[in-house]
């Protein structure tokens, strides 16, 4: 049987991916350019018995998502930069309380209200460092409508598997772009659900890591009574200031991600085998970069593309390897320099690292990237 095909906007594909992943709860607040995610899910979730709620503000939306997830519902919110700024405290809450949830950030330009209808890639550092305190982050950066679907599914999988918030960031260009999408059949993509406890309610400790870095999470209303807090806590979930408990828990929550980078990492390479210059780019900008690679190759220039799909944790190992192989890396991103500093750090001085950015609301075009490559040759 032929697979279902459609012409969809990135934001619509995101909503479809959420439903495929088993999402049954959305809470959000209207914001350009992400609103279509909410609109789609307000239509689709009640059809499957799921819940959609438009909250009074961005913070409330994040709070409701965490609350719903604690009852066992796979939960999602969608917003843009200003909304993510408002959600930061509770993203940290989801980190320390270890509550699975997915946050969609359809990126626009500028600090503050900036350019609501223009694209940007200037929230990528915020995705890692936006909330206060030590924590690990997972952030995915799809670059096509099809990939928005699959990465939204993967975001739920990672959130459930590692019991934490996962962010999916795509710029306004891909969010609003319409492309052909082939819907995966049910069962075609892996769908992961959180691990439920096997111990009795009396024995259950919500942060008991004796059997692995990610403790099983019981649901409210499933027979388990337990305490959840944003305070530093011990394995039993109750607040503590005892140094050894605090230290162990903080480290475990970072290590559960950093020890599993191989599982979380995802990236694409294009003509990197013999590349002398590497373009390091993600999201819609990576599409321009790929075009630039093809054009430059026609001119005999040995250039390749590295495109992270998992942006955080940062693809440290592969970036370092490529830095040793290449003479120069051009980091193309729609900002005034963010991931370039991470690339520079990973390159460890083994090659030149330069930035090609743009923040005028226009996409970075292939010519712009090609010119930069020629400049560093």
């Amino acid at each position: 049987m032929a697979k279902k095909v459609a012409l969809l906007q990135g934001n619509q594909a995101c909503a479809a991916g959420a439903v495929y992943a088993g999402c049954t709860f959305f809470a959000g607040y209207p914001i350009t350019p992400s609103t279509e995610v909410a609109e789609e899910l307000s239509n689709d979730l009640p059809k499957i018995g799921g819940k959609f709620i438009q909250m009074e503000d961005e913070i409330a939306a994040m709070a409701a998502v965490i609350g719903a997830s604690l009852t066992g519902s796979k939960s999602i919110t969608a917003t843009s930069g200003p909304g993510v700024s408002l959600k930061q405290e509770l993203i940290g809450y989801a980190c320390i309380a270890e509550v699975p949830c997915v946050i969609i950030n359809v990126m626009r330009g500028g600090p503050s209200t900036g350019m609501p209808t223009g694209p940007g890639q200037s929230d990528v550092m915020q995705a890692m460092w936006g909330t206060h305190g030590d924590h690990a982050a997972i952030a995915l950066v799809p670059s096509t409508v099809q990939e928005i679907f699959t990465e939204t599914v993967r975001a739920f999988n990672l959130a459930e598997k590692y019991r934490m918030p996962v962010q999916v960031l795509f710029d306004e260009i891909v969010g609003h772009m319409r492309e052909r999408i082939v819907f995966p059949e049910p069962g075609e993509l892996e769908v992961i659900n959180r691990t439920a406890p096997t111990v009795s309610p009396a024995e259950y400790k919500p942060y008991d890591a004796t059997k692995g870095q990610v403790p099983p999470l019981a649901s409210f209303g499933s027979g388990y009574k337990f305490h959840v807090t944003g305070l530093n806590k011990a394995a039993d979930g109750f607040p503590t200031t005892k140094a050894e408990y605090v230290d162990a828990e903080e480290r475990r929550q970072v290590n559960k991600v950093m020890d599993n980078v191989a599982d979380i990492e995802s990236n694409e390479e294009y003509l990197t085998e013999d590349a002398e210059v590497l373009i390091w780019s993600y999201g819609s900008t990576a599409r321009s970069a790929r075009y630039a690679v093809n054009e430059l190759r026609k001119q005999g220039i040995k250039v390749g593309l590295f495109r992270p799909v998992t942006l955080w944790p940062f693809p440290e190992k592969r970036t370092s390897e490529l830095a040793k192989q290449c003479k120069a890396i051009v980091v193309a991103e729609m900002n005034l320099g963010q991931m370039v500093y991470e690339v520079e750090r990973a390159a460890k001085g083994n090659c030149v690292v330069v930035h090609e950015g743009r923040v005028d609301g226009e996409p970075i075009n292939p010519g712009q990237i090609a010119a930069k490559v020629k400049e560093v040759m």
């Binding site: 809470a27 018995g49 913070i59 609350g67 519902s73 209303g221």
Partner: protein
């Protein structure tokens, strides 16, 4: 005779963190009695709070307890209730948590008339941070950040809740323990948003700055100035000066939010 609170308290959690004489413990006991009266299965009861002294309450109770971020209890609780309407949801917290940083969530939870009971302990001050003025600190009162007297006007939490659309609003004080559990019981049984405001004492950061010689003085003040709403209608404005009305202040039937959303699901599914 002696009430059995122990079966509701998590083992080893007492004594609690609250200061000598703090009324939050009295409210917690009232809440336990109300939950018992309603026969709540603690496995299906979520108790949600924000940040502050009063918000430490859920940690003591053997239930599904969620101690969230400052001001956000009602928003987290809305997520819990929406996702699992069969759970009983109780919020608790203080006046600053609920009406300042959490004011937006508070009024919108009232507006939706979502089925939960919010016990708001109004002790007129931010206690945990050392006694800064809250939206409920009386005008002219002393707080650590109003050394010259509080210039701010005061929120009337119950009026705020009524104005915002809560369908059960009641007030009592920590000096009226039997009324606490009576009103919370009514709130839990009420289908919709129930706000139970309990005027409370903070001897440590409010009382000592405001000429209350002891916690007993504060309790006597609460007892002496509470006027049952039913009696107030027969009193003059002069007689009511400085008093606060207690008992059920407002009650109406209006469609409840999760029931309304169940209708949305039916429509979406073409039923």
């Amino acid at each position: 005779m002696a009430y059995d609170y122990d079966k509701s308290i998590r083992p080893g959690k007492l004594p609690h963190i609250w200061c000598p004489g703090c009324g939050h413990g009295i409210v917690m006991k009232g809440l336990i009695r109300a939950m018992d009266t309603c026969g709540l299965d603690r496995k299906n009861t979520a108790i949600v709070s924000g940040i502050g002294c009063a918000s430490r309450l859920p940690g003591y109770l053997d239930a599904c307890t969620l101690h969230t971020a400052h001001g956000r209890a009602a928003a987290f609780a809305t997520g819990v209730k929406m996702a699992k309407p069969e759970m009983t949801v109780i919020c608790c917290g203080g006046d600053g948590d609920g009406t300042a940083i959490g004011g937006n969530h508070f009024i919108h939870a009232c507006r939706r008339n979502i089925d939960m009971t919010y016990v708001i302990m109004n002790n007129f001050i931010y206690g945990m941070t050392g006694g800064q003025f809250s939206p409920c600190t009386p005008t002219g009162a002393k707080a650590s950040t109003t050394p010259y007297g509080n210039p701010d006007p005061v929120f009337d939490i119950s009026k705020l809740a009524i104005g915002a659309g809560a369908t059960f609003v009641a007030r009592t004080t920590a000096a009226h323990p039997r009324e606490i559990d009576k009103l919370i019981t009514m709130g839990i049984k009420h289908k919709g948003m129930a706000i139970i405001e309990v005027l409370d004492d903070c001897p440590t950061t409010y009382g000592r700055r405001n000429k209350f010689r002891s916690v007993v003085d504060m309790m006597k003040h609460l007892k002496a100035n509470a006027v049952p709403a039913v009696a107030a209608s027969k009193m003059t404005a002069e007689q009511l000066a400085g008093k606060f009305l207690t008992g059920v202040l407002f009650q109406e039937e209006r469609p409840e939010y999760t029931a309304q959303y169940a209708e949305v699901i039916k429509k979406a599914q073409g039923a």
